[in-house]
Amino acid sequence: MAAQFHLEIITPTKVYDEGDVDYVRAPGVDGAFGVLAGHTESIMALTIGEIKVVKGSVEKLYASTKGFAEITDKGVQLLVESAEPKGDIDLHRAQEAYDRAKEHLSRKQEEMEDQVRALRALERSMNRLKVAEKK
Protein backbone atom coordinates (compact mmCIF):
# COMPACT_ATOMS: atom_id res chain seq x y z
CA MET A 1 0.00 0.00 0.00
CA ALA A 2 1.18 3.47 -0.84
CA ALA A 3 2.19 5.95 1.84
CA GLN A 4 -0.64 7.51 3.73
CA PHE A 5 -1.12 10.78 5.57
CA HIS A 6 -3.40 12.05 8.27
CA LEU A 7 -6.38 14.14 7.19
CA GLU A 8 -8.64 16.36 9.25
CA ILE A 9 -11.49 18.46 7.98
CA ILE A 10 -12.08 21.20 10.52
CA THR A 11 -15.14 23.45 10.55
CA PRO A 12 -16.31 25.90 13.22
CA THR A 13 -18.92 23.44 14.42
CA LYS A 14 -17.34 20.06 13.87
CA VAL A 15 -14.08 18.24 13.27
CA TYR A 16 -14.12 15.34 10.84
CA ASP A 17 -11.10 13.23 11.62
CA GLU A 18 -10.55 11.03 8.58
CA GLY A 19 -7.55 9.21 10.02
CA ASP A 20 -4.89 8.05 7.57
CA VAL A 21 -5.87 8.45 3.96
CA ASP A 22 -4.25 7.86 0.57
CA TYR A 23 -5.43 10.86 -1.35
CA VAL A 24 -7.49 14.00 -1.02
CA ARG A 25 -8.74 16.34 -3.69
CA ALA A 26 -9.76 19.82 -2.64
CA PRO A 27 -11.27 22.79 -4.51
CA GLY A 28 -8.47 25.37 -4.74
CA VAL A 29 -9.16 28.94 -5.80
CA ASP A 30 -7.34 28.29 -9.07
CA GLY A 31 -8.88 24.89 -9.65
CA ALA A 32 -9.03 21.60 -7.81
CA PHE A 33 -5.80 20.04 -6.67
CA GLY A 34 -4.88 16.64 -5.33
CA VAL A 35 -2.67 15.82 -2.40
CA LEU A 36 -0.71 12.61 -1.88
CA ALA A 37 1.63 11.77 0.96
CA GLY A 38 4.87 13.76 0.88
CA HIS A 39 3.34 16.90 -0.58
CA THR A 40 5.29 20.18 -0.25
CA GLU A 41 4.32 22.09 2.86
CA SER A 42 1.86 24.70 1.77
CA ILE A 43 -1.16 26.81 2.53
CA MET A 44 -3.79 27.01 -0.14
CA ALA A 45 -6.96 29.04 -0.34
CA LEU A 46 -10.07 26.96 -0.98
CA THR A 47 -13.30 27.91 -2.60
CA ILE A 48 -16.79 26.41 -2.66
CA GLY A 49 -16.70 22.93 -4.08
CA GLU A 50 -16.30 19.29 -3.24
CA ILE A 51 -13.65 17.50 -1.23
CA LYS A 52 -12.88 13.96 -2.25
CA VAL A 53 -11.17 11.65 0.20
CA VAL A 54 -9.73 8.30 -0.86
CA LYS A 55 -8.90 5.70 1.74
CA GLY A 56 -8.00 2.32 0.28
CA SER A 57 -10.89 1.47 -1.98
CA VAL A 58 -13.31 3.76 -0.15
CA GLU A 59 -14.16 7.16 -1.53
CA LYS A 60 -15.88 9.88 0.41
CA LEU A 61 -17.30 13.18 -0.80
CA TYR A 62 -17.89 16.38 1.13
CA ALA A 63 -19.62 19.56 0.02
CA SER A 64 -17.56 22.42 1.40
CA THR A 65 -17.42 26.19 1.37
CA LYS A 66 -14.55 28.66 1.57
CA GLY A 67 -11.52 28.13 3.69
CA PHE A 68 -7.98 26.97 3.26
CA ALA A 69 -5.79 23.89 3.37
CA GLU A 70 -2.73 23.60 5.52
CA ILE A 71 -0.36 20.90 4.37
CA THR A 72 2.53 19.98 6.66
CA ASP A 73 4.67 16.92 7.14
CA LYS A 74 2.36 15.91 9.97
CA GLY A 75 -0.64 15.75 7.71
CA VAL A 76 -3.31 17.81 6.03
CA GLN A 77 -5.85 20.05 7.69
CA LEU A 78 -8.68 21.46 5.67
CA LEU A 79 -10.13 24.47 7.46
CA VAL A 80 -13.44 25.32 5.89
CA GLU A 81 -16.47 27.24 7.11
CA SER A 82 -18.75 24.33 6.41
CA ALA A 83 -18.36 20.78 5.22
CA GLU A 84 -20.99 18.11 4.98
CA PRO A 85 -20.42 14.48 4.06
CA LYS A 86 -22.44 13.56 1.00
CA GLY A 87 -24.96 11.55 2.99
CA ASP A 88 -25.59 14.33 5.50
CA ILE A 89 -26.53 17.05 3.04
CA ASP A 90 -29.97 18.43 3.71
CA LEU A 91 -31.37 18.35 0.18
CA HIS A 92 -34.56 20.08 1.17
CA ARG A 93 -32.70 22.98 2.74
CA ALA A 94 -30.30 23.28 -0.16
CA GLN A 95 -33.18 23.35 -2.63
CA GLU A 96 -34.91 26.04 -0.60
CA ALA A 97 -31.75 28.13 -0.47
CA TYR A 98 -31.37 27.65 -4.20
CA ASP A 99 -34.91 28.82 -4.94
CA ARG A 100 -34.57 31.78 -2.61
CA ALA A 101 -31.31 32.89 -4.19
CA LYS A 102 -32.80 32.53 -7.68
CA GLU A 103 -35.74 34.66 -6.71
CA HIS A 104 -33.47 37.36 -5.26
CA LEU A 105 -31.44 37.46 -8.42
CA SER A 106 -34.50 37.79 -10.61
CA ARG A 107 -35.40 41.06 -8.88
CA LYS A 108 -33.29 43.55 -10.77
CA GLN A 109 -33.50 46.73 -8.73
CA GLU A 110 -31.87 45.34 -5.61
CA GLU A 111 -28.65 46.70 -4.29
CA MET A 112 -25.36 45.44 -5.54
CA GLU A 113 -24.45 43.96 -2.19
CA ASP A 114 -27.64 41.91 -1.93
CA GLN A 115 -27.05 40.65 -5.43
CA VAL A 116 -23.58 39.48 -4.50
CA ARG A 117 -24.91 37.79 -1.38
CA ALA A 118 -27.61 36.02 -3.36
CA LEU A 119 -25.05 34.91 -5.89
CA ARG A 120 -22.91 33.40 -3.14
CA ALA A 121 -25.91 31.62 -1.66
CA LEU A 122 -26.75 30.30 -5.09
CA GLU A 123 -23.23 29.01 -5.50
CA ARG A 124 -23.29 27.25 -2.14
CA SER A 125 -26.67 25.63 -2.65
CA MET A 126 -25.81 24.51 -6.17
CA ASN A 127 -22.64 22.92 -4.86
CA ARG A 128 -24.55 21.03 -2.16
CA LEU A 129 -27.11 19.80 -4.65
CA LYS A 130 -24.41 18.79 -7.09
CA VAL A 131 -22.44 16.80 -4.54
CA ALA A 132 -25.53 15.17 -3.08
CA GLU A 133 -26.70 13.97 -6.47
CA LYS A 134 -23.40 12.41 -7.46
CA LYS A 135 -23.29 8.69 -7.74
Binding site: V29, I43, A45, F68, L79, E81
Partner: protein, 285 residues
Protein backbone atom coordinates in the same frame (compact mmCIF):
# COMPACT_ATOMS: atom_id res chain seq x y z
CA UNK B 1 -51.16 37.78 64.27
CA UNK B 2 -51.36 37.11 60.52
CA UNK B 3 -54.42 35.39 59.23
CA UNK B 4 -53.97 31.62 58.77
CA UNK B 5 -55.59 31.61 55.37
CA UNK B 6 -53.33 34.41 54.12
CA UNK B 7 -50.22 32.56 55.16
CA UNK B 8 -51.39 29.37 53.52
CA UNK B 9 -52.02 31.27 50.31
CA UNK B 10 -48.58 32.86 50.37
CA UNK B 11 -46.93 29.49 50.93
CA UNK B 12 -48.82 28.17 47.91
CA UNK B 13 -47.70 31.07 45.72
CA UNK B 14 -44.07 30.76 46.71
CA UNK B 15 -44.23 27.02 46.20
CA UNK B 16 -45.24 27.51 42.57
CA UNK B 17 -42.63 30.23 42.04
CA UNK B 18 -40.07 27.81 43.37
CA UNK B 19 -41.17 25.22 40.85
CA UNK B 20 -40.79 27.72 38.02
CA UNK B 21 -37.34 28.87 39.10
CA UNK B 22 -36.19 25.29 39.51
CA UNK B 23 -37.40 24.44 36.01
CA UNK B 24 -35.62 27.50 34.62
CA UNK B 25 -32.46 26.45 36.37
CA UNK B 26 -32.60 23.01 34.80
CA UNK B 27 -33.29 24.42 31.34
CA UNK B 28 -30.39 26.85 31.69
CA UNK B 29 -28.11 24.03 32.79
CA UNK B 30 -29.00 22.00 29.70
CA UNK B 31 -28.48 25.00 27.44
CA UNK B 32 -25.20 25.75 29.12
CA UNK B 33 -23.98 22.25 28.38
CA UNK B 34 -24.82 22.71 24.73
CA UNK B 35 -23.14 26.11 24.64
CA UNK B 36 -19.99 24.70 26.18
CA UNK B 37 -19.97 21.88 23.66
CA UNK B 38 -20.26 24.41 20.83
CA UNK B 39 -17.37 26.35 22.28
CA UNK B 40 -15.20 23.28 22.42
CA UNK B 41 -16.01 22.39 18.84
CA UNK B 42 -15.15 25.85 17.58
CA UNK B 43 -11.78 25.90 19.29
CA UNK B 44 -9.62 23.86 16.83
CA UNK B 45 -10.80 25.88 13.84
CA UNK B 46 -10.41 29.24 15.58
CA UNK B 47 -7.00 28.23 16.88
CA UNK B 48 -5.62 27.26 13.48
CA UNK B 49 -6.95 30.32 11.66
CA UNK B 50 -5.58 32.53 14.37
CA UNK B 51 -2.24 30.74 14.33
CA UNK B 52 -1.72 31.01 10.61
CA UNK B 53 -2.86 34.62 10.44
CA UNK B 54 -0.63 35.56 13.34
CA UNK B 55 2.25 33.92 11.60
CA UNK B 56 1.63 35.80 8.38
CA UNK B 57 0.71 39.28 9.55
CA UNK B 58 4.04 40.52 10.92
CA UNK B 59 5.71 40.44 7.52
CA UNK B 60 3.04 41.82 5.29
CA UNK B 61 2.23 45.34 4.26
CA UNK B 62 -0.78 46.58 6.20
CA UNK B 63 -1.94 48.76 3.34
CA UNK B 64 -2.62 45.77 1.13
CA UNK B 65 -6.02 45.16 2.65
CA UNK B 66 -8.59 47.70 3.81
CA UNK B 67 -9.38 45.67 6.89
CA UNK B 68 -5.77 45.87 8.02
CA UNK B 69 -5.12 49.53 7.33
CA UNK B 70 -5.17 51.71 10.42
CA UNK B 71 -7.26 54.82 9.91
CA UNK B 72 -7.39 57.71 12.37
CA UNK B 73 -10.21 56.59 14.61
CA UNK B 74 -12.67 59.47 14.45
CA UNK B 75 -15.90 57.56 14.29
CA UNK B 76 -16.15 54.52 16.45
CA UNK B 77 -18.48 51.59 16.56
CA UNK B 78 -19.27 49.30 19.44
CA UNK B 79 -20.79 45.88 19.20
CA UNK B 80 -22.53 45.06 22.45
CA UNK B 81 -23.70 41.57 23.28
CA UNK B 82 -26.55 41.07 25.73
CA UNK B 83 -29.30 38.52 26.11
CA UNK B 84 -32.85 38.68 24.78
CA UNK B 85 -34.45 37.79 28.06
CA UNK B 86 -34.03 38.75 31.66
CA UNK B 87 -34.02 36.67 34.82
CA UNK B 88 -30.32 36.06 34.59
CA UNK B 89 -29.06 38.00 37.56
CA UNK B 90 -26.87 41.00 36.89
CA UNK B 91 -25.69 39.66 33.51
CA UNK B 92 -27.22 42.43 31.44
CA UNK B 93 -27.04 45.19 34.04
CA UNK B 94 -23.30 44.78 34.42
CA UNK B 95 -22.46 44.77 30.76
CA UNK B 96 -24.82 47.62 29.94
CA UNK B 97 -23.36 49.79 32.67
CA UNK B 98 -19.82 49.12 31.56
CA UNK B 99 -20.64 49.50 27.87
CA UNK B 100 -22.33 52.83 28.47
CA UNK B 101 -19.30 53.98 30.38
CA UNK B 102 -16.97 52.99 27.54
CA UNK B 103 -19.15 54.57 24.88
CA UNK B 104 -19.46 57.81 26.86
CA UNK B 105 -15.69 57.94 27.24
CA UNK B 106 -15.34 57.57 23.47
CA UNK B 107 -17.94 60.28 22.88
CA UNK B 108 -21.61 59.53 22.46
CA UNK B 109 -21.88 61.62 19.26
CA UNK B 110 -19.04 59.89 17.46
CA UNK B 111 -20.18 56.41 18.32
CA UNK B 112 -22.47 54.01 16.57
CA UNK B 113 -23.78 50.94 18.27
CA UNK B 114 -24.57 47.49 17.04
CA UNK B 115 -26.67 45.66 19.59
CA UNK B 116 -26.77 41.90 19.61
CA UNK B 117 -29.52 40.76 21.96
CA UNK B 118 -32.75 42.61 22.71
CA UNK B 119 -31.83 43.93 26.16
CA UNK B 120 -28.98 46.03 24.83
CA UNK B 121 -31.09 47.42 22.02
CA UNK B 122 -33.90 48.44 24.38
CA UNK B 123 -31.47 50.06 26.77
CA UNK B 124 -29.47 52.11 24.28
CA UNK B 125 -32.20 53.09 21.85
CA UNK B 126 -34.22 54.56 24.76
CA UNK B 127 -31.27 56.65 25.84
CA UNK B 128 -30.71 58.33 22.51
CA UNK B 129 -27.71 56.40 21.28
CA UNK B 130 -27.33 55.77 17.59
CA UNK B 131 -28.03 52.09 17.15
CA UNK B 132 -27.30 51.29 13.52
CA UNK B 133 -28.04 47.62 13.68
CA UNK B 134 -29.60 45.19 16.11
CA UNK B 135 -30.23 41.49 16.24
CA UNK B 136 -32.62 39.59 18.48
CA UNK B 137 -34.57 36.32 18.67
CA UNK B 138 -31.82 34.09 17.40
CA UNK B 139 -30.15 32.84 20.58
CA UNK B 140 -32.28 29.72 20.73
CA UNK B 141 -31.28 28.47 17.32
CA UNK B 142 -27.77 29.87 17.36
CA UNK B 143 -26.00 28.91 14.16
CA UNK B 144 -22.69 29.75 12.52
CA UNK B 145 -24.57 31.54 9.76
CA UNK B 146 -25.69 34.17 12.29
CA UNK B 147 -22.06 34.96 12.94
CA UNK B 148 -21.27 35.31 9.25
CA UNK B 149 -24.28 37.58 8.67
CA UNK B 150 -23.24 39.86 11.52
CA UNK B 151 -19.59 39.89 10.56
CA UNK B 152 -20.49 40.75 6.99
CA UNK B 153 -22.79 43.58 8.03
CA UNK B 154 -20.12 45.10 10.26
CA UNK B 155 -17.38 44.69 7.66
CA UNK B 156 -19.36 46.29 4.86
CA UNK B 157 -20.23 49.29 7.04
CA UNK B 158 -16.61 49.56 8.03
CA UNK B 159 -15.45 49.42 4.42
CA UNK B 160 -18.03 52.04 3.46
CA UNK B 161 -16.33 54.36 5.93
CA UNK B 162 -19.20 54.57 8.39
CA UNK B 163 -16.73 54.04 11.20
CA UNK B 164 -12.98 53.65 11.53
CA UNK B 165 -12.71 51.44 14.54
CA UNK B 166 -14.85 48.63 15.89
CA UNK B 167 -14.80 47.24 19.38
CA UNK B 168 -16.80 44.37 20.77
CA UNK B 169 -18.02 44.35 24.36
CA UNK B 170 -19.11 40.95 25.55
CA UNK B 171 -19.18 38.57 28.48
CA UNK B 172 -16.46 35.99 28.38
CA UNK B 173 -17.24 32.66 29.95
CA UNK B 174 -14.69 31.95 32.67
CA UNK B 175 -16.52 29.26 34.56
CA UNK B 176 -20.06 28.62 35.69
CA UNK B 177 -19.83 31.13 38.52
CA UNK B 178 -17.81 33.75 36.72
CA UNK B 179 -18.15 35.90 33.63
CA UNK B 180 -15.74 38.59 32.65
CA UNK B 181 -16.61 41.60 30.54
CA UNK B 182 -14.12 41.93 27.71
CA UNK B 183 -13.51 44.78 25.30
CA UNK B 184 -12.09 43.34 22.09
CA UNK B 185 -10.63 45.25 19.16
CA UNK B 186 -12.43 43.80 16.15
CA UNK B 187 -11.48 46.14 13.29
CA UNK B 188 -9.00 47.07 11.95
CA UNK B 189 -7.37 43.76 12.57
CA UNK B 190 -4.74 43.78 15.27
CA UNK B 191 -3.27 40.56 16.47
CA UNK B 192 -1.42 39.91 19.65
CA UNK B 193 2.26 39.11 19.60
CA UNK B 194 1.86 35.61 20.92
CA UNK B 195 2.55 34.45 17.38
CA UNK B 196 2.84 30.73 17.39
CA UNK B 197 6.01 29.75 15.57
CA UNK B 198 5.43 27.94 12.34
CA UNK B 199 8.96 26.89 11.52
CA UNK B 200 8.49 25.87 7.94
CA UNK B 201 8.35 28.05 4.89
CA UNK B 202 5.10 27.37 3.23
CA UNK B 203 4.24 27.39 -0.39
CA UNK B 204 1.29 29.69 -0.92
CA UNK B 205 -1.30 29.12 -3.53
CA UNK B 206 -2.46 31.12 -5.43
CA UNK B 207 -0.23 33.67 -3.61
CA UNK B 208 0.50 34.83 -0.12
CA UNK B 209 -1.62 37.93 -0.56
CA UNK B 210 -4.54 35.95 -1.87
CA UNK B 211 -4.34 33.56 1.04
CA UNK B 212 -4.35 36.44 3.50
CA UNK B 213 -7.27 38.06 1.73
CA UNK B 214 -9.23 34.89 2.08
CA UNK B 215 -8.11 34.32 5.65
CA UNK B 216 -9.25 37.68 7.00
CA UNK B 217 -12.98 37.24 6.46
CA UNK B 218 -12.69 33.67 7.82
CA UNK B 219 -11.01 35.07 10.90
CA UNK B 220 -13.64 37.76 11.42
CA UNK B 221 -16.41 35.19 11.07
CA UNK B 222 -14.94 32.81 13.58
CA UNK B 223 -14.24 35.64 16.03
CA UNK B 224 -17.85 36.77 15.80
CA UNK B 225 -18.92 33.16 16.35
CA UNK B 226 -16.72 33.03 19.43
CA UNK B 227 -18.31 36.20 20.85
CA UNK B 228 -21.76 34.72 20.34
CA UNK B 229 -20.82 31.43 21.97
CA UNK B 230 -19.04 33.04 24.91
CA UNK B 231 -21.91 35.41 25.55
CA UNK B 232 -24.47 32.65 25.22
CA UNK B 233 -22.62 30.38 27.64
CA UNK B 234 -22.21 33.27 30.08
CA UNK B 235 -25.88 34.10 29.89
CA UNK B 236 -26.95 30.54 30.59
CA UNK B 237 -24.46 30.24 33.44
CA UNK B 238 -25.68 33.51 34.96
CA UNK B 239 -29.27 32.38 34.63
CA UNK B 240 -28.50 29.02 36.16
CA UNK B 241 -26.77 30.57 39.18
CA UNK B 242 -29.42 33.20 39.77
CA UNK B 243 -32.27 30.73 39.38
CA UNK B 244 -30.58 28.40 41.81
CA UNK B 245 -30.30 31.26 44.30
CA UNK B 246 -33.96 32.10 43.69
CA UNK B 247 -34.98 28.48 44.31
CA UNK B 248 -33.02 28.42 47.56
CA UNK B 249 -34.50 31.71 48.67
CA UNK B 250 -37.98 30.44 47.93
CA UNK B 251 -37.22 27.39 50.09
CA UNK B 252 -36.03 29.57 52.96
CA UNK B 253 -39.07 31.76 52.68
CA UNK B 254 -41.38 28.76 52.73
CA UNK B 255 -39.64 27.45 55.85
CA UNK B 256 -40.05 30.69 57.74
CA UNK B 257 -43.65 31.06 56.60
CA UNK B 258 -44.39 27.50 57.76
CA UNK B 259 -43.01 28.39 61.17
CA UNK B 260 -45.17 31.48 61.30
CA UNK B 261 -48.15 29.45 60.14
CA UNK B 262 -47.67 26.84 62.85
CA UNK B 263 -47.26 29.50 65.50
CA UNK B 264 -50.41 31.21 64.34
CA UNK B 265 -52.26 27.90 64.31
CA UNK B 266 -51.14 27.08 67.83
CA UNK B 267 -52.07 30.52 69.07
CA UNK B 268 -55.50 30.10 67.53
CA UNK B 269 -55.98 26.70 69.20
CA UNK B 270 -54.81 28.07 72.55
CA UNK B 271 -57.27 30.92 72.31
CA UNK B 272 -60.08 28.54 71.44
CA UNK B 273 -59.29 26.22 74.36
CA UNK B 274 -59.12 29.21 76.64
CA UNK B 275 -62.52 30.31 75.44
CA UNK B 276 -64.04 26.84 75.93
CA UNK B 277 -62.52 26.43 79.38
CA UNK B 278 -63.56 29.84 80.58
CA UNK B 279 -67.02 29.27 79.09
CA UNK B 280 -67.34 25.96 80.97
CA UNK B 281 -66.12 27.57 84.15
CA UNK B 282 -68.67 30.31 83.84
CA UNK B 283 -71.40 27.65 83.59
CA UNK B 284 -70.19 25.86 86.76
CA UNK B 285 -70.53 29.04 88.75
Amino acid sequence: MANLKDIRKRIGTIESIKQVTRAMKLVAAAKLRRAQLNMEQARPYAGRIHGVLNHLLPDIDRTMHDLLTMRPAQKKAFIILTSDRGLCGSFNTNILRQAEHIVKAAGKENSKLICIGRKGYEYFSKRGYEVVEHYADFWNELDFSHATTMARAVTSRYLAGEFDDVKVIFNEFKNVAQQEIIEYHYLPLVLEDDAEEISTDYLFEPSKDEVIKSLIPRHLNIQMWRFLLESNASEQAARMTSMEAATNNAGDLIDSLRLEYNKARQAAITTEILEVVSGAEALVE
